[in-house]
C-alpha cells in the first residue's frame, strides 16, 4: 500500500519536485490546509505580502530576473480577484507564473458561499490555461502540467484552483520526472530552408536592421549571447523594444537605443527607411508601429517568434520563422559561417551608406534635454543614478509613466534579466512589488525601483513586506506631484486641461519610509543629488528616495499625431517642432 498524502501535502510535494524555493502569498480561509502544511517543507520559503496583487508582481519580478517560474498562493474570492491584475500583466508580458488559489469546498461551489467566486471563469482570458481540481487524484499531475504550460512555448501565467475539501482528501503521489521533450504544444517549426532564405535576404539588404524584443530575454541568457554574435558578424544596426532592453549592450555603437513612441530618433527613422527588418522575439505592438499603414513601407520583414499567433497579427511579414529565438539565431550563425564566412567584410561596403545615414540621425541626440541648476531634471536624475550604479550589476524595475520612459532612455543595460517593467498592460504599481521579488531572487544585488509618486502609491503597502524580510530595495521616486504622462497628454492634446492629474495631497515620503521602518532620503537640488544617491546605495536597508523633480518636464522624443516613424516630435531644443493637430491627436 503506497503512502497517502493530503491534497495540501501534494501541493508542496509538487512544488518541491519543481524546484520551487519561494512562494509569494497571503493566507485565507480556503487555503488554510495548505498553509498548515508549510511548516513541513523546509526547502520552500513563503514570502508574506500585503496584498495579492503584490504577490503576483513580486512573483513576476522573481521570474523575470531569475528565469524560473514565479509561484503565488492566494485564497478564494477576493484573494483570487486581487491577483487578476498581476496575472493579466504576466499574460501580456509573457512571464511564467503559477498561481495556486484556494476555493470553497466542492459541495458549496455555485452557492454564493462566503469568499466564493468563479475563479477559473474570471481568470480564463488572462491565463494561458487554468484548472479547477475537483478530484484529489488529478491534483499532482495537474500542478505539474501547470508548470509545463507556464514555462514552455511563449511563457505565461496559469492558475490551479483547489477546493478546500480537496486539500484535505488523501491520494497517492507519483514522483515527477522532468521530461526531456517539454514543448508539447509549441515546437520549433522552422526549417533550414527558412534560414537559407533569411540569409539570402540579409545578403541582399543594403539598409538592414534588427528589431529585437522580450522574446530574446525569455529564450534565456544563451539567446542574448547568440544575438550579440549575430549582430557582430553581420555589422547590422540593432534596436530593441522596451521589453528587450538588456539583451544587447546599451552602450554598444551598433545599438540604436529603444524604438517606438518614445524611442530614439535614429531607431525609429532606421525602422522607417530600412529595406530589411528582422524582428526577433518582438510582436509589432501598437506603441512600436505607430500608424500601421505607413509602418516601414519599403522593407522586407522577417519575423522570428515562438508563438505562431504573433505572426501576421498586426503587420504582414514576408518571412515568418516560428521557433525559439536561441535556436533560430544559432542555426543562422552556423549557416552564415558555413556558406559566407566573410559576411561582415563583404557586407561592410554595402551598408556603409546606411550607417552614415544613421549617424546623421544619431547626431540629433534625441534623448537630450535642457538641464537646470535650479531644479532636478528627471532625465538628469536617471543619468546620475545610472552613472553611480552601472558597475554594480544593478537590477531595475519601474512603475508606469514618464519615469518609465526616461528610465528606458537613459539607463543602459548590458545584460538580460536586469530590467523589469510592465510594458503590455502598463500596470501602475508594478515596480515596487516586482523589486521585492527581484531582491528575493538576488539577495546580494542592488535592486532599484525607478518610480513615479503616483504609481508607487498604488502598491506602497509592500514596503512592509520588504522590511519584514530585510529586502534592501531602493524606491527611487521621481516626484513631480503629477501623473506625468497623463499631464503630458493633457498638455499636448487636451488644451492644457489638467483634469485630475495633479495629486494635491501627497504623503511625506521620508516620514512614510520611517513609518514603515525603512530609510527615507530626499533630494531637492541638483548639486546634492550625487551624494544622496550614494547614501542610498550604501544603505543596507530598504530606502524610499524622494527625488523632487521639475514638475512640467515632458518626455521626448515622441511619435505624435497619426504619423509614421519618420515624423517624430523632438524636445524643446528642436526649433522645427510642429504642433499636434486634428487627426494626429489620436495616436499619442
Amino acid at each position: 500500500m503506497p503512502k497517502l498524502y493530503s491534497g495540501a501535502e501534494i501541493v508542496f510535494k509538487c512544488l518541491e519536485d519543481q524546484g520551487v524555493e519561494f512562494i509569494f502569498g497571503y493566507p485565507g480561509g480556503a487555503v488554510l490546509p495548505i498553509y498548515d502544511e508549510l511548516k513541513n517543507f523546509n526547502s520552500i520559503k513563503h514570502i508574506l505580502v500585503r496584498h495579492e496583487q503584490g504577490a503576483g508582481h513580486a512573483a513576476e519580478g522573481y521570474a523575470r530576473s531569475s528565469g524560473k517560474p514565479g509561484v503565488l498562493l492566494v485564497t478564494s474570492g477576493p484573494g483570487a480577484t486581487n491577483a487578476v491584475t498581476a496575472l493579466t500583466d504576466a499574460y501580456m508580458d509573457s512571464v511564467p507564473l503559477v498561481c495556486i488559489s484556494g476555493q470553497v469546498p466542492t459541495h458549496l461551489i455555485g452557492t454564493d458561499a462566503f469568499q466564493e467566486c468563479d475563479t477559473t471563469g474570471i481568470t480564463r482570458p488572462c491565463t494561458k490555461h487554468n484548472w479547477l481540481v475537483k478530484d484529489i487524484n488529478d491534483l499532482g499531475k495537474t500542478i505539474h502540467k501547470a508548470f509545463e504550460v507556464a514555462t514552455t512555448g511563449r511563457p505565461g501565467p496559469v492558475l490551479v484552483d483547489i477546493p478546500k475539501d480537496v486539500q484535505f482528501k488523501k491520494s497517492k503521489y507519483i514522483n515527477f520526472k522532468k521530461q526531456k521533450k517539454l514543448n508539447g504544444k509549441v515546437h520549433n517549426k522552422f526549417s533550414q530552408k527558412n534560414i537559407d532564405e533569411l540569409i539570402k535576404l540579409m545578403d541582399k539588404a543594403s539598409k538592414p536592421i534588427f528589431y529585437t524584443g522580450g522574446g530574446v530575454v525569455n529564450s534565456g541568457p544563451r539567446a542574448s549571447e547568440l544575438l550579440r554574435e549575430l549582430v557582430n558578424i553581420t555589422g547590422f544596426p540593432i534596436t530593441s523594444t522596451l521589453q528587450g532592453l538588456g539583451s544587447y549592450p546599451g552602450e554598444d555603437s551598433q545599438f540604436l537605443g529603444m524604438l517606438g513612441m518614445h524611442g530614439s530618433y535614429e531607431a525609429n527613422n532606421a525602422m522607417h527607411d530600412c529595406d530589411l527588418m528582422i524582428n526577433i522575439g518582438a510582436r509589432f505592438d501598437d506603441r512600436i508601429t505607430g500608424k500601421i499603414d505607413e509602418f516601414s513601407p519599403k522593407s522586407k520583414k522577417v519575423h522570428i517568434d515562438i508563438d505562431p499567433s504573433s505572426i501576421n497579427k498586426n503587420v504582414k511579414v514576408d518571412l515568418p520563422i516560428v521557433g525559439d529565438v536561441a535556436e533560430v539565431i544559432s542555426f543562422t550563425i552556423k549557416t552564415i559561417k558555413k556558406i559566407k564566412p566573410n559576411f561582415a567584410k563583404s557586407n561592410k561596403q554595402k551598408i556603409s551608406k546606411w550607417w552614415e545615414k544613421i549617424q546623421k540621425w544619431r547626431s540629433i541626440n534625441s534623448f537630450d534635454f535642457v538641464n537646470s541648476t535650479e531644479t532636478i531634471k528627471p532625465q538628469y536624475a536617471i543619468q546620475r543614478l545610472y552613472e553611480l550604479t552601472k558597475n554594480k550589476d544593478t537590477y531595475v524595475t519601474t512603475e508606469v509613466g514618464q519615469h518609465q520612459m526616461w528610465a528606458a532612455q537613459h539607463y543602459k543595460f548590458d545584460k538580460p534579466n536586469r530590467w523589469m517593467t510592465s510594458g503590455g498592460l502598463g500596470t501602475m504599481g508594478y515596480g515596487l512589488p516586482a523589486a521585492v521579488g527581484v531582491q528575493v531572487a538576488h539577495p546580494k544585488k542592488l535592486v532599484i525601483d525607478i518610480a513615479g509618486e503616483a504609481s508607487v502609491l498604488m502598491t506602497m503597502q509592500e514596503m512592509s513586506t520588504a522590511v519584514q524580510y530585510n529586502l534592501p530595495i531602493k524606491i527611487f521616486i521621481l516626484n513631480n506631484e503629477y501623473m506625468g504622462m497623463v499631464r503630458q497628454w493633457q498638455e499636448l492634446l487636451h488644451d492644457k486641461n489638467y483634469s485630475e492629474s495633479y495629486t494635491a495631497a501627497l504623503p511625506d515620503f521620508v516620514k512614510l519610509a520611517e513609518a514603515y521602518g525603512c530609510v527615507g532620503i530626499r533630494a531637492t537640488k541638483p548639486e546634492e543629488l550625487d551624494d544622496k544617491i550614494i547614501e542610498m546605495i550604501n544603505t543596507d536597508r530598504p530606502v524610499i528616495f524622494d527625488c523632487l523633480v521639475d514638475k512640467e518636464e515632458n518626455c521626448f522624443p515622441m511619435i505624435p499625431s497619426g504619423k509614421p516613424h519618420n515624423q517624430m516630435l523632438l524636445g524643446p531644443k528642436d526649433q522645427k517642432q510642429n504642433k499636434i493637430t486634428g487627426k494626429g491627436k489620436i495616436l499619442v
Binding site: S309, G582, V588
Partner: protein
C-alpha cells in the same frame, strides 16, 4: 473621427467580411466550450451557430462546429489562438461557399391547424425530405435536414400554415470524398 482624442491609432481599412465554418476537436471537459467561445466574444464577434457533441467516447473528444463572420485577419488570429489552447487537438476552417464540404443543419417545426393547413404545410416542405415525427389531430412535428438558407425559406413559408414553434441546430460540416481533415 478626426476629433477623437483616444490614445490609440485610427483604424485602417477594414478587411472584407467572410462567413467561416470553424471546426474544433477538443477534450470533452468542463469549461472547454467557454474557452473556445471566449476567443470570439472577446473580439466582439457573434457566433451565428454552434454545434457541439462528443464524437469519440473512448478518447473523450468533442467536435465543435462554429459558424461566424469576420475579416480574414481576425479569423486567422482566432484559428491560431484556438490551436494554442491546451484542450484543443486540431482546428479546421472552411468557407461557406466551399464546394468540397457538406454543411447540414436540422430543424423541427411544429404546425397547428386543420387537416387542410397541415397538409399544405407538409407540401411546402416536401422538397426537403420532411419527416413527420409526431402527429395529432391538431398538429404535426416536422423534421427537416437541409442547408441554412433552405431552412430559412421553409421557416418563412410555413408561417402561413400554422407554424407555432421552430427549433434549429447549428451547422455540422464534413469534407466530401475519402479524405479526412488532419
Amino acid at each position: 473621427m478626426s476629433k477623437s482624442k483616444s490614445a490609440y491609432s485610427i483604424p485602417g481599412k477594414m478587411g472584407k467580411l467572410d462567413t467561416h465554418i470553424i471546426v474544433v476537436w477538443v477534450d470533452n471537459e468542463a469549461g472547454v466550450l467557454a474557452r473556445v467561445v471566449g476567443l470570439f466574444s472577446g473580439r466582439g464577434y457573434n457566433i451565428e451557430s454552434l454545434a457541439v457533441a462528443e464524437v469519440d467516447m473512448r478518447l473523450n473528444i468533442s467536435r465543435i462546429t462554429i459558424v461566424t463572420t469576420g475579416t480574414p485577419q481576425v479569423i486567422e488570429q482566432i484559428k491560431l489562438q484556438l490551436k494554442k489552447l491546451v484542450p484543443v487537438h486540431k482546428v479546421a476552417d472552411f468557407k461557406r461557399e466551399d464546394k468540397n464540404v457538406i454543411f447540414k443543419e436540422m430543424a423541427l417545426f411544429k404546425v397547428v391547424g386543420s387537416n387542410k393547413t397541415k397538409e399544405k404545410a407538409l407540401k411546402a416542405c416536401k422538397k426537403y425530405n420532411a419527416v413527420i415525427l409526431d402527429k395529432t389531430k391538431k398538429s404535426y412535428v416536422i423534421q427537416i435536414t437541409a442547408l441554412r438558407r433552405e431552412i430559412d425559406i421553409i421557416s418563412k413559408n410555413l408561417k402561413k400554415f400554422g407554424l407555432v414553434s421552430v427549433s434549429r441546430t447549428g451547422a455540422v460540416a464534413m469534407t466530401r470524398g475519402s479524405e479526412i481533415f488532419k
